[in-house]
Symmetry: C2
Subunit: 407 residues, 2 copies
Amino acid sequence: MKVIEGGITAAKGFKAASCEANIKYAGRRDMAMICSDVPAVCAGTYTSNVVKAACVQWDMEITKSGRPMQAVVVNSGIANACTGEEGFEACKKTAKTVEAALNIPFDSVAVASTGVIGMQLPVDKLVSGVEKMSKELDDSIAAGLDASKAIMTTDTVNKEIAVNFEIDGETVTLGGMSKGSGMIHPNMCTMLGFLSTDLDISKELLQEALSAVIKDTFNMITVDGDTSTNDTLLIMANGMAGNKKIDSKNEDYEAFYEALFYVCRFLARKMASDGEGATALFECKIIGAKSKDDARTMARAVVGSNLSKAAIYGHDANFGRFLCAMGYSGAEFDQNDVELSFMSKAGEMKVFDHGTPLEFDEDKATKILSENEVTVFVNMNEGNEEATAWGCDLTHKYVDINADYRS
Amino acid sequence: MKVIEGGITAAKGFKAASCEANIKYAGRRDMAMICSDVPAVCAGTYTSNVVKAACVQWDMEITKSGRPMQAVVVNSGIANACTGEEGFEACKKTAKTVEAALNIPFDSVAVASTGVIGMQLPVDKLVSGVEKMSKELDDSIAAGLDASKAIMTTDTVNKEIAVNFEIDGETVTLGGMSKGSGMIHPNMCTMLGFLSTDLDISKELLQEALSAVIKDTFNMITVDGDTSTNDTLLIMANGMAGNKKIDSKNEDYEAFYEALFYVCRFLARKMASDGEGATALFECKIIGAKSKDDARTMARAVVGSNLSKAAIYGHDANFGRFLCAMGYSGAEFDQNDVELSFMSKAGEMKVFDHGTPLEFDEDKATKILSENEVTVFVNMNEGNEEATAWGCDLTHKYVDINADYRS
């Protein structure tokens, strides 16, 4: 597997476009469109929030139906959540506009939105945007890059990646883009993620791979503990690589799985490090846990704790907060088994050993915790399972951003 | 029932003392002691965190044992959590010092700590403090007031209350004090709460009343979602009011229950409004829910959401965040049934009605949300159960306080 240049347009037969639709943001691209030259098998994972945005409900219907997917229309600025029947009509109108412009069935068109909840989308602007973008679809790296910027809200950097790998002598490409900075606590994360591949694979295995991979990637990041109404991750596989179709869990499946995991982990980490107001990527790695679920639960609790996040912002080796978060996570363990260390590029240091706090050099600890990627490493010494979660620090800027996001 | 002046020393036979033990804070009282003239039946509720402070483990043993309780020693500054065997020895040494000074059994002495986790208590300072306070125990209102100040950490105001009520012709008094400002998400908060009453009641009913009352009082507040290692609520009932002993759930029990609920609700709300860095008390009242558990879960999720809390700080009528929090809380409901309003002294305004956002006057909404007590009022229209939760806004000052709490 090799990382290559590009993103959502890297795989064969995928084009993208974007435009300034002026939905809520002025003077920037706020709509994007992805299109496959041919119908693609698709899979999706969605928010677990019972308040699901209209677009989430729309896309769930497509991925469950067994129908192919051929295009995705995305807007930033307004989430189309808590918008009743009018919100659902906006999805349909968007898809119908694509049908008319590109001559593909409206029910193969996914839609995704991110932004303010409880506000109606301006349908006229959506329609104009789709009509414009339909004429500008392009398979260039630049078109993919622009699309990845158009879906940003409070994100400070765009997120995209592409990799290729060999299957059965054929080069298969997998590309993707995502956005997400606040309201990030995926269960399935307002993260939006879009992946495209020219792999030939059965729908069932595509969904199975996606559902398995998110458990240790997108679902292991948190910015603020708020699980969005809009979280959506979609993948389209259009088969244009020409590989022998994957319809069993053979070594070809494993090769794809590895690439998918790499791409999802890359995008997930990038979202965490670009969490609203973040100055650092905050990683927690738990090893030696009794169960995988326990390891995941504790790792997520640590990076999700406001007090832990504030300590990271302050470069403060206040390790009790991390142990406290593990303790209320819901996992069962004995504090007398636990070892806890801090790690970063500046070094590593153990601060807690089997129930007892260790004397440590505060200056060195501060140095370790002042890097822009810091890890809390915990050995539970109770089993063989492990998990890693990613979040970010809690900063003044987070409060700035969210005390007045709507305006 | 009548609210009277005073706090932990209001009930007959209860004395308090406090001192500057210089445990971590300089130039302020940081130890307190409560003592009953006679052995008291006792009840307690404690943190659900699996990482329990040494003092929590100590007190749990007493309240479970059936032995009476006669004194409580409290320190602020260091939590005595994650401190191994040495931490447990500090509890025992403290209790033994009380035994020597006051001639009461060491195993009737509860201990409680709040502050930094993972740091050892300076036992010599504890011992000196206890010896000093043992000579200064006093039943005055002033002694109770000083004790309530000594247990503060990042609290900005002390919290105490006293009420009296009639039982069978006798005046019974119930007083209490609590602290709590950060790491507040009680399941059973680092809240510490201490209640004293001269009521005569069986141990079983005392525990039953306390356990029932916290569900809708202390356990319905959250500051930061972090459930502490030290949460402790203790009540001592020394029987000195001379009422006919309460040993069944008769009307006398109901009169006590009502007073206990009032006192706990008062202290809980006061803790929420004094949450670290808070500028406003943030209340969420859910009515019309299918079940009591659902109502509690949703109300807590709303006041616990960082994004909701930041919106309250910004006086921003971003109601979608509240619906989003209800949606990920774990409760099941249909967004098309929901009505949501904002309320405060400045008025009220409905902003969401049965699945559809309403047009509303932004200026009026901002005015409503600019009061120092604001309520998000939600009618689920799906049942008859209700619950109220209390939290506070998420502010720059919260980040200030917690990015460098240890130093």
